[in-house]
């Protein structure tokens, strides 16, 4: 059973886990990305971390888990249990405002709002998603070059204002 205790120990564990960065988007911490769900301490000293994968096949999850274990070990918590929460599924809407700012600062456009759906079948979308602003020159005039980018979570775009290519985190 997980007991939530507010203590300097817990604060330290949360700080250590919260500082771990995403292996594929290293300008984001796992908190910024929204994949770190909770950090709790099970008495006497077991740290229970709950994470959620971004995509079903995200190969980074293995590294995230290993990095969390290593970071907590360095912070003096050798007993770590990493749990996976599949539900509710991760959404790019969970990327924090700080995370969005960090992405933009590194030339990656943050995702727009995740597609909404009402009742009935998932709507067919034949138009490209709404155009984000260029993270370099802030022009609203950008084109999608490719629906998929260097990792599962990104698409490739080009700015018609400054002519530069840039990546966008896909809305999911």
């Amino acid at each position: 059973m997980t007991v939530t205790v507010s203590s300097p120990e817990l604060d330290r564990a949360r700080a250590a886990a919260g500082a771990v960065v995403d292996p594929e988007l290293p300008m984001l911490t796992l908190v910024d990305l929204g994949v770190l769900r909770s950090v709790e301490i099970e008495p006497p000293a077991r740290v229970v971390v709950t994470v959620t994968p971004t995509y079903s096949g995200c190969p980074a999850l293995v590294e995230m888990r290993a990095d969390l274990v290593a970071a907590l070990d360095r912070a003096g918590f050798p007993d770590v249990d990493i749990r996976t929460a599949l539900s509710p599924p991760w959404s790019s809407d969970w990327i924090t405002p700080a995370g969005r700012a960090a992405l933009r600062e590194h030339g990656i456009a943050p995702p727009g709002p995740a597609p909404r759906r009402g009742r009935g079948p998932v709507p067919l979308r034949l138009e490209p998603p709404p155009s984000p602003r260029c993270p370099r020159c802030d022009s609203p005039d950008t084109d999608q070059v490719a629906a998929f980018g260097a990792t599962a979570c990104r698409a490739l775009r080009r700015c018609r204002g400054c002519g530069e290519p840039f990546e966008q985190v896909r809305a999911l």
């Binding site: 290993a66 249990d81 599962a152």
Partner: protein, 308 residues
């Protein structure tokens, strides 16, 4: 485990990861840390059969898509197909692992104990033991064939997996909920290509139409159910694919309309298998699956005790 060199990471000792099994895509049970409680009062072997079929579809389709690497018409499309394959491989891992939890009897006999269930199922079953639909296994044609296969597969799978989010098995429901937006993106990508090719040049139109006509005889099977999985549908763990047919036809009709493509068969309802037979779901496959598996399983079978 911060390392600059990816290859060092593969050989590094880590108490978290332990010995690394050489052939899996990952080094841990994909369901590790997920509550494995089984649904009460359900026919578990039937549930496992149902989940295994959906996992095998994803695994074999992922393999076929990955074979397009270095063959796609442009670099961006290779990246797209590899990403779609990766999503499906992730779904396959979760579903195969869950199938083995639902019925440990699915695990092939004689596979060394340290091999995870997902790898035992992927690498140590024969073609007759695979339960994927034949659509995913048939050999490649041209790019038009690929787009047609991906459009049909994703449209069908989306309808099934979307309903699976209401499964009485919480793990299956969660895996499905994760997969829905992924598959929707794949379908929309394939639909975009169908439009570009269908409403493109005479040659691209001809080849897109031919691609759809080539995969069409395999469509009927998609809406069938094997007797062994039927109890899972009655139990509310699984989904009867036949209930998704109207949605499938509607999407295909709209995409074809915009792509200026006529019906691939004289009539979608009469076309395909008539009456439709659950070929792949009962282990009856084309010879292409045996060839595909011979390649996919060769390393694991040659070095069954292999480790990093």
């Amino acid at each position: 485990m911060a390392v600059d060199n990816a290859y060092e990471a593969l050989t590094e000792d880590s108490r978290d990861l332990g010995d690394r099994w050489a052939y899996g895509t990952g080094f841990q049970d994909p369901l590790s840390g997920v509550d494995a409680t089984l649904p009460t009062g359900a026919d578990l072997p039937a549930a496992a059969r149902h989940v295994l079929g959906l996992g095998d579809d994803a695994l074999v389709m992922a393999h076929r898509l990955s074979e397009w690497c270095t063959h796609a018409p442009e670099l961006e499309e290779e990246v797209a197909l590899a990403n779609i394959a990766l999503d499906l491989l992730g779904q396959a891992r979760l579903l195969l692992a869950r199938a083995a939890q639902l019925d440990p009897g699915l695990r092939p006999a004689g596979v060394a104990g340290h091999v995870p269930d997902e790898d035992a199922l992927a690498f140590f079953r024969s073609a007759e033991e695979y339960r994927n639909v034949r659509l995913v296994e048939v050999p490649h044609g041209d790019f038009g064939h690929l787009v047609a296969r991906l459009l049909v597969f994703s449209t069908w799978r989306l309808g099934v997996v979307d309903r699976l989010t209401g499964s009485r098995d919480p793990v299956v429901a969660a895996v499905a909920a994760k997969a829905v937006p992924e598959i929707a993106y794949h379908r929309d990508h394939a639909a975009g290509w169908t439009l570009r090719l269908g409403d493109g040049t005479d040659e691209s139109h001809r080849r897109m139409a031919r691609g759809l006509a080539e995969v069409w005889p395999l469509v009927g099977e998609l809406f069938t159910t094997a007797d062994a999985e039927r109890p899972a549908i009655a139990d509310g763990v699984g989904v009867d694919p036949a209930t998704t047919r109207a949605e499938f036809e509607d999407v295909l009709r709209r995409v074809r309309g915009q792509a200026t493509l006529g019906p691939p068969g004289a009539d979608l309802r009469r076309d395909g298998d008539a009456p439709a037979t659950a070929w792949g779901r009962t282990g009856r496959h084309t010879a292409a699956l045996r060839d595909l598996l011979a390649e996919m399983q060769s390393v694991a079978r040659a070095h069954p005790e292999g480790r990093w």
